[in-house]
Each structure stands twice: as C-alpha cells, then as structure tokens.
C-alpha cells in the first residue's frame, strides 16, 4: 500500500462532484426535513408540528409490516442470489468465443429497464398467455400471482433472482479471472479436491467482490419499487408492498407530505445505518487479515 500525499488542494478536484451531488442530494433532503416537521394544508398554510409525524410514522403498523416484509425479501434474495451467482461464475467458460458470448448473454437482464422486467414477468407468469404460468398450471400447481399472496411473493422473489443473479455472477466471474494460474497448478500438485480448491483458493479471493455484491444487492433490493409495482402493484392486499411502494403511496397517492417526509427520513436512516454497519464490519474484517 502506497502512502498518499497530504494535499488539501485536492478539494478543488472533488469540488465539481460535491456541487453536482449536493444539488441533487442536499437540497432535496433539506426539503424533506422541512416537510417532516410541518403540517401542510396548501402552499401558504402550514404549521410547525415538531416530532409529531415521526411519532405517527414510528407507530404506524402498516409501515412496520412493510419494513418486516422488506427485510424478509432482502435476506431471501441475498440467500439465493449469492450462492447461485458464485455457482454460475464457476461454471462460466474461461476462454475463447464462448466466454464472451456467455458474458453478453448473462448480462442481458441487467440492461433491461426495470418496468420492462416487471412486464416480462407479468406476461410470463400469466396462465393464459405466459409460459411460466401455463407450465405451473400443467404440472398441477394452482398458481396465480395476482390473487394468491404466496404466489405473488414467490414470483417477485423469482423475478429478482432472475434479474440480479447475473450481477453477482459477473462480479464473481471477474474475481475468479484475477486468480493467477499458479495457484491452481499448486493445488493440482497437492491433489487438492474440487471443494478444497474452492474453499481455500477461490473463495478467499472472491471476498472483495462478494462484499461489493452483497452491499449492492442489499441496497438495491431495499429500494425495489418498479418491478413489483408493475408485476403485482403491491398486492394482493399489501402482501408485496415494500418500503418504497408504501412511501410513494403515501406521498403521491394520499399527498400526506408531512408523514411521507418523516417516513422518508426514517427509511433513509435505516438504509444508511445498515450499510454503515456492513461497511465497517467488512473494513475491520479486511484489516484483521
């Protein structure tokens, strides 16, 4: 590790980034803070209500449910996507034309606009016009994502796994490519088993990319909005209403600016907290090594 030079003039290089991100982050965030402590009737009438909205949000059972659902969803998809992604990365060919073909094909779901992902699964899962729905019907499963909460839930999970496992796979694939061939040769001389190679050579080298993968997937699944919105609209009932959706319903649907703003802040703080915990534990783990 090279030591960095101390130089405060470097701030001038960071300044453009600071300005542009501040414009689209700090100003809106301050607006949200401003709303969260006021009761707004129209543009000119508003009262200061202090922490009232925060109290209301903290005690709102709908939001508790959405939060629990959100955590459950995020952990489910992490549990599926990370091992599956590693598996796919291990299976991907390493050389030649087939390698770049695989890369392109695997990456396709990542480049589809999120609402189109929702649309694809909306079509694919329908019993009358979709292959998946028809298949489930054919093997005798009573499947209907629009009316059964369990089906809706599993379809959203399946969709997310379909959509985002490629990201984990590609991250791991690039991590695997960075392992020098010598390591494998040494393992071959020691007659290491396939599992031993994975456990003691590949997995340690994948730690870094897996950290990024877990962090990205956690953050993004925590803000999931468009795909379930298109697929199930948060229903049936509110079984697939995650945090973002609950927030948008409140802010745009009911136009409760104050409570929605308080909710936004709480939501943002939860993400920030979880990510900070992730980030520091990981950094400490790396330092210990």
């Amino acid at each position: 590790m090279q030591t960095k030079v101390e130089n405060n003039k470097a701030w001038f290089l960071v300044l453009p980034v600071f300005i542009i991100v501040a414009f689209s982050a700090i100003i809106p965030l301050m607006t949200v803070v401003n709303y969260s402590v006021q009761d707004i009737f129209d543009q000119n009438t508003s009262y200061f209500v202090g922490a009232e909205w925060f109290k209301q949000v903290m005690l709102d059972s709908r939001l508790h449910d959405a939060l629990i659902r959100q955590f459950l969803f995020s952990f489910t998809i992490l549990l599926i996507e990370i091992p599956l992604g590693i598996g796919v990365a291990l299976m991907m060919p390493t050389k030649g034309k087939s390698a770049s073909l695989c890369l392109i094909l695997v990456a396709i779901p990542l480049l589809i606009p999120w609402n189109v992902v929702g649309t694809i699964w909306q079509i694919f899962g329908r019993e009358d016009i979709g292959l998946f729905g028809a298949f489930m019907g054919a093997i005798g499963v009573d499947y209907n994502y629009a009316s059964d909460p369990v089906d809706a839930w599993s379809t959203v999970v399946l969709m997310d796994v379909w959509h985002w496992t490629p990201l984990v796979a590609l991250l791991c694939y690039s991590g695997l490519r960075a392992i020098p061939e010598v390591y494998y040769q040494a393992a071959r001389i020691d007659q290491a088993s396939r599992w031993a190679v994975f456990r003691y050579i590949q997995l340690p080298k994948l730690t870094n990319v897996l950290i990024i993968g877990v962090l990205l997937r956690f953050m993004d699944s925590f803000m999931i909005y468009t795909e379930p919105f298109v697929l199930t609209g948060g229903g049936p009932g509110s079984s697939t209403t995650f945090l973002s959706q609950a927030l948008v319903q409140q802010a745009i649907g009911q136009f409760d600016l104050g409570p929605a703003a308080a909710f936004s802040l709480v939501y943002f703080l939860i993400i920030l907290l979880v990510c900070w915990v992730f980030y520091t534990t990981i950094m400490n783990m790396q330092k210990d090594k």
Binding site: K4, S24, V32, L103, I108, L111, S174, F268
Partner: protein
C-alpha cells in the same frame, strides 16, 4: 458422439504412453485430468441450463412481439403462427412512441458525459491525495448511491420545477447523477489506484502540468476503466424509471413511461407492449457488445 469418444481414447492413450516414461506420477495425473474433463462437461451443461432459463422469459417477449393480439390470447405457441411486424410498425410510425426512445437515449448520454467529466478529477483526488474530510466525503458520496429514489421523488419534482428545468432532458440527467456520479467515482478510483504513482511523478519531473498530464498520459492509461464506468452509468440511467417518469411530462418523456399507454379501455395491447419492451433491450445489448472485453475487468471494479 463417436468422434468425441475417439478423441477421448486418443487423449487418455497419449497420457498412458506419457505415463510409461514417468511411472509413478502418470496415473495420478491422468485421473486428475479425467476428473477435470468431467467437471468441465458438467459445468458446461449447467451453464447451458442456466442460460436457457435466463433467456426463456426474454424469448417469450420477443416471440409475443411478432404475434397479433388475437393469436396471443388464443393460446400458447413457441413460434408465431402468423408472423407480423405490425406491432413494430406501429411504434416506428408514431412519433409519440419513437420519440420516447430518442428522449431516453438523450438523457442517458447526457448523464454519462456529466458523470464522467466530474468523476474523473474527483476519483484522481481520492486515489492520490489525502485531504481534510476525504473519508467522510467518500462515504457521503456512497450514501447517495444508497438513497432510495422514492425518498427524493417529491423534492426533486419541486426543485426542478422551481428552477424551470421540469420536463427537460437535462433535469433527468442531473437527477440520475445522484446515484451515477458516486458510482463512477467509486469505479474510477479503483482503476486509478491500480496505476503506479511513479508514473505521475515522472511526468511532473518531465515538466508536464497537471491538466496536460491528466489528458495526455493518465486518461489513456485507464481507458478500459472509463469504458466500464460509462457502461455502468448507461446501465443505471437506462433502467431507471421512477425519477425519469416523475420529472417529465411531454417533451422528455422516456420510453419506459410511454409503455404504460398500452393499457386502454379495450384491455391490454399485449403485442404492442411486447414490441416496445423488446426495443428497450436492444440499446443495452449494443453497449455490452462494445465493452465485452473489458467488462470482466470492470465488474471487479478494479479492486481485486
């Protein structure tokens, strides 16, 4: 089948003849080799299965886009019976449809350019210098990547309306900077840290000024990093809908928002929806085709 089995025996016999020369090591080597070959075959099979499952939903969409609505609703089939291009013709013949694609492309490109321009110097600063508050700044930047767009929906709408940018491409491009600039800084910083500092120092000794060094020497060195960053910026800006939809109404409306039009009183126009969906996938495929050689490196975010 026969051909593959003959090559199989050929190879193992070759291993055997090789084995007679070195009596002890050879059988072990060939067993390991056979195992490895089996493993490759198994993983190839697994990969094919995964790819089929992955591409099936997309194939279904493409398949549907070439069907008429009556055919879609009358039953399932893997190939369109009455192949039709009507759905595509409808999109390319109607400016309110195809302008959506142009709008989307415009703001995505704008966002890509802005993100790269501001992120390049900042990433250089983070990778080379220590300065007051650098770690906090970095975490703050990343925290914006974590901010749920839903939180910023309403304030964004009011902010851009009040500065008169509502319903322009630049508004969406700037809004997308919220998550793309931090990401760009993050990826570029990784790539830049991989370039030895001695290069900078040598250049300064040779009398290069900072801007000259940066443009002439440094940027060419991290070319692939820039390509990958551009790819990621494109990707996240192209797929985002919530902000893009909120910040536009007519002039800069993205294609993703226009697609909701297919729901009408007479029911869904599935064929048209499918065709529009297929067309949104194409730009992404083009971009990934261009960066395919760097993308493996880039997904490591230069940090492995």
């Amino acid at each position: 089948m026969t051909q593959s089995s003959t090559t199989h025996t050929n190879k193992s016999s070759a291993a055997k003849t090789y084995g007679t020369a070195e009596t002890v090591q050879a059988p072990v080597y060939s067993r390991a080799e056979r195992k490895a070959r089996n493993a490759t075959r198994r993983s190839r099979l697994g990969m094919v299965i995964y790819l089929v499952l992955l591409l099936l939903p997309i194939y279904w969409l493409i398949n549907m886009s070439f069907k008429t609505n009556t055919e879609i609703l009358s039953g399932l089939s893997f190939f369109p019976e009455h192949f039709t291009l009507d759905n595509y013709a409808k999109i390319f013949g109607d400016p309110t449809w195809y302008m959506g694609y142009i709008n989307s492309t415009l703001y995505v490109v704008m966002n890509m350019v802005i993100s790269l321009l501001v992120a390049l110097p900042a990433a250089y600063a983070f990778s080379r210098y220590r300065f007051v508050g650098d770690k906090h700044m970095f975490f703050w930047l990343l925290s914006n990547r974590m901010a749920p767009p839903a939180v910023f929906l309403l304030p964004f709408f009011q902010l851009y309306s009040s500065v008169g940018l509502f319903d322009t491409h630049i508004a969406v491009a700037l809004a997308h900077c919220l998550f793309n600039v931090p990401l760009a800084v993050w990826i570029l910083e990784g790539f830049m840290s991989g370039v030895p500092r001695e290069i900078d120092e040598t250049a300064y000794i040779d009398g290069y000024t900072f801007p000259k060094f940066f443009v002439r020497i440094f940027i060419p060195l991290i070319r692939s990093g820039i390509g990958v960053t551009a790819f990621f910026c494109f990707m996240f800006s192209w797929v985002e809908l919530l902000l893009a939809r909120t910040l536009t109404s007519v002039e800069a409306k993205p294609i993703a928002a226009i697609m909701t039009r297919t729901v009408s009183a007479s029911g869904m126009d599935w064929g048209l929806l499918a065709a529009a969906g297929v067309l949104t996938i194409i730009p992404g495929m083009l971009v990934i085709y261009f960066v395919r050689n760097h993308v493996a490196k880039g997904f490591a975010l230069g940090r492995v």
